[in-house]
Amino acid sequence: MSDAAFTFTIDGVTITAEPGQSIMDAADAAGIYIPRLCDHEGLRHQGGCRVCTIKANGRSAAACTQPAAPDLVVENESEHINAMRRNLVEMLFHEGNHLCPICEASGNCELQAMAYRLGMTEPTKFPYLEPCRAVDASHPDIALDTNRCISCGRCIRASQDVDGKGIFGYVGRGIHRRVAVNGPDLAHTDAEVTDHAMSAEVCPVGCIIRKRVGFSTPIGEREFDGGLIGQDIERKRSQGKGQ
């Protein structure tokens, strides 16, 4: 494979990519936001949430794992694709217990922010699965409420690959698949609140809770209170245009 940069289009906009980049990597660099939940900067791509589904030359693919290729025609922000993404986000809401008004992650929550971005503004159509899993508050500084987990696996990859600890892992299969800790509870692992896996940026929802800091930033001043998720990436492009 040649090392030369190449171009392809996303929704008609020509962008440049390097060999080895995924469609999402290239889009991020070019200031085009492709919605995602399980993907996170600095972590391996997983391709599990499927919210980043795009059409590449007409075929569905996850933008985070699909390699960019010369002259690829990528469709990102179509009504059809966003409707599917909204369905996926609704599925995640209904798989767990996501009660925004009583969740300390509200305003910082990527699931909530994605719902706003995708226009999930009316009552949803799916049945609620209402899991009832015990909260693990054993650790002095961290609590886990896996009823709010969306199985993105970001904490698993962060703990394994960044912290070198492997505190989390998936267990079970199908609808019973869930994130669990490497021990009887979190207190019996070597988890520390300073781990990257426990940082506010890794868990996209209110599942990994750092104790005693939940409301230190008031509602209204939180990450997504000021604008849509993804605008940090999109700003790169609008700034580029302005120059």
Binding site: G48, T53, M84, L88, P127, G174, A180
Partner: protein
């Protein structure tokens, strides 16, 4: 079984999995010796994390469960974390995190079994053993469980008793089996009093009938021994691949990818370490053709694998045998051993210097998803059976990162025959784009369920005539991930261009409830989804719940649009073929049996859902408030 010393075996020759006789209570892993036994099992597999599935299967067999302590020991031995071991142990249906009985009876609850007397067989087992389905007896001797299709639809209802298969279970037969087991008989001796004296092939055929009802020219007719391999041995890689390409052979496992192209991609890779894997994880409900090929044409399967190995330059191969077919393992090991002895496996095959290839058997453990080639490779690597991200494709980077060709059992058989008889011979059968013959597994409401080898291009009606399915009102072609067709579609053709199929044909008469069938299959996909991606993990649950709504008479016409919308999201966003096809039972019945859906919906009136029962909805609140509703109770004042 506890008294038997377990001999040390090399990696290529796995120890046989012993089966309990029901007399010895299983070792619960609570005594001091358990740890040592688990260390011994790990050591036997080289403490290799890639052999995790073998280790866990051996621990399950010995202790009847994977205890938390066992997971700790296995983790320590293999250099894994406990959560990684648990991730694998909790993935496979045949591994258990609570103690199972020394004799575990898994009754197949496929829809075909349900329609052939499953309930009677279940009742007989429950009564005779004194335990309910899903439970284990207090003395630890017996467990009763349901399991999805075990590949015996032509002789349903069927059950696995440990690794032993029992078929055509009537109430009486089930009762006598259960009674004999309770009295201390081993499952094996119930198959034959001289079970131990039988050859491995005789043991396999003593418990399960082949039911070959139509033999074709390619696979089930007379097949000369190793004629294809002898010809391939004097050909260059390029010539072998060109022959397979010219034949038009396409994969027989369902996806229908061009086999020659797969081999060509792997052959082109520079990596000297390559693998040939045989996908014998036949799990599509209603499919049992590979069972018959592995029984009757095991040599041909291995011959085909050996030819593929020569074509791509692989030294090692693997047969991934589904856990349900554990009863075929000894037979396959026996065939492998005989071929080694005859110089057809091992070093310098057929005296060709440098033609080295050998095969080991990897047992599965109850996971339909492992029939997906990436998931199959994950499983062989000792991981949960989750599909891999594509690209890279297995032919480029597969097992442990090396180029790997994964083909279906039947595909290898065809390849061996093509090398013997030539591409033209194969092409002369079937239709344009669907060359050769195909094995069809026909079951359900027909007089002659069994295996039919037929050329591609026959109509559904032709096949029904052969199988005695004159009462058919619906035919499921290709299993639940295929297409359900009605009488008006019986002229459609079985080929890649019309009704593509890996060979499952399930016949349903007019007495069957289409929605019951659809709900069963959706439940199957919910059970078998790996859970990696959102749409398949969650979406299939919603599909199943909606079909339940139709069955309960609580659906309205908007639910049809809802089903279509949800199905399309699942198909278009799922990560692998399971989610891309799991909505098919719904979509194909919406298409071909629309009246079934419209007949069960109720329309809404006055802004109220017809199916919404306000009295039921407020009854809880009424109880809590200890008074009646001002709005909804006319007699509020009373």
């Amino acid at each position: 079984m506890e008294a038997l010393p377990e001999a040390h075996h090399g990696l290529m020759n796995d120890p046989k999995i012993p089966s309990g006789n029901g007399l010895t209570p299983p070792d619960r892993g609570s005594n001091g010796g358990a740890d040592g036994a688990i260390v011994e099992i790990c050591t036997r597999f080289g403490n290799d994390k890639h052999r995790m599935l073998d280790i866990l299967l051996a621990v399950q067999d010995r202790f009847r469960w994977i205890s938390p302590e066992a997971m700790e020991t296995i983790a320590e031995q293999t250099g894994q974390s406990r959560i990684q071991v648990e991730g694998v142990a909790s993935f496979y249906h045949f591994l258990s995190q609570e103690p199972k009985g020394a004799i575990t009876i898994r009754i197949c609850d496929d829809i075909v079994d349900r329609y052939t007397g499953l309930a009677d067989a279940v009742a007989a087992f429950e009564e005779e053993l004194g335990i309910a389905m899903g439970t284990t007896s207090a003395d630890g001797r017996f467990s009763l469980d349901y399991t999805p299709c075990i590949g015996m639809c032509d002789q349903a209802p069927a059950a696995m008793v440990n690794g032993v298969i029992f078929t055509r279970l009537t109430k009486q037969k089930a009762r006598s089996i259960a009674a004999a087991l309770r009295e201390g008989a081993s499952p094996e001796e119930l198959i034959s009093p001289q079970f131990e004296a039988l050859s491995p092939y005789e043991r396999a055929t003593a418990s399960v009938d082949n039911n070959i009802l139509h033999a074709g020219e390619v696979l089930l007719g007379p097949v000369p021994q190793d004629a294809g391999l002898e010809k391939a041995a004097v050909l260059r890689s390029e010539q072998i691949i060109a022959t397979v390409e010219a034949s038009g052979l396409r994969g027989c496992g369902g996806a229908g990818f061009t086999s020659g192209a797969k081999w060509r991609f792997a052959a082109a890779e520079a990596d000297p370490q390559k693998y040939v894997f045989c996908n014998a994880d036949e799990g599509e409900p209603g499919t049992f053709k590979d069972r018959v090929l592995l029984t009757e044409r095991a040599d041909l399967v291995i011959e085909g694998m050996t030819i593929a190995a020569r074509a791509i330059g692989a030294k090692e191969g693997l047969i991934y045998l589904r856990g349900e077919y554990a009863y075929l393992r000894d037979h396959l090991e026996d065939v492998l051993a005989k071929r080694r002895a005859r110089g057809l496996l091992g070093s310098d095959i057929l005296d060709k210097p440098g033609f080295d290839f050998d095969i080991r058997i990897q047992m599965g453990a109850g996971a339909y998803i492992c029939g997906e080639e990436g998931a199959l490779i994950s499983s062989c690597e000792g991981l949960p059976g989750e599909p891999k991200t594509r690209p890279p494709f297995p032919v480029n980077r597969g097992y442990l990162g090396h180029p790997t060709v994964v083909n279906n059992v039947e595909t290898f058989c065809h390849a061996a025959r093509i090398l013997d008889q030539g591409a033209q011979w194969f092409q002369s059968m079937g239709t344009e784009g669907s060359n050769g013959t195909k094995l069809f597994s026909i079951s359900g409401d027909c007089r002659n369920p069994g295996i039919y080898e037929l050329p591609y291009g026959m109509s559904v009606r032709d096949v029904l005539t052969l199988a005695g399915g004159s009462d058919a009102a619906a035919v499921l072609v290709g299993g639940p991930s295929g297409t359900m067709v009605g009488r008006d579609s019986f002229e459609r053709l079985l080929s890649f261009d019309d009704l593509a199929t890996a060979g499952a044909i399930v016949v349903f008469s007019g007495e069957r409830n289409i929605l019951e069938i659809v709900e069963y299959y959706l439940g199957f996909f919910v059970h078998e989804s790996c859970g990696y991606c959102t749409p398949c993990r969650v979406g299939n649950v919603f599909l199943q719940k909606t079909i339940q709504k139709f069955r309960e008479g609580n659906a309205d016409s908007s639910d049809v649009a809802y089903l279509r919308d949800l199905a399309s999201t699942i198909i278009e966003t799922s990560r692998c073929g399971l989610g891309m096809t799991s909505p098919n039972p719904i979509l194909s019945t919406l298409e071909n049996f629309p009246l079934v859906y419209s007949a069960t919906t109720k329309e809404n009136e006055g802004g109220m859902k017809a199916t919404f029962d306000i009295q039921a909805a407020i009854s809880g609140a009424r109880t809590i408030a200890k008074r009646r509703s001002y709005i909804f109770d006319k007699d509020f004042t009373q």
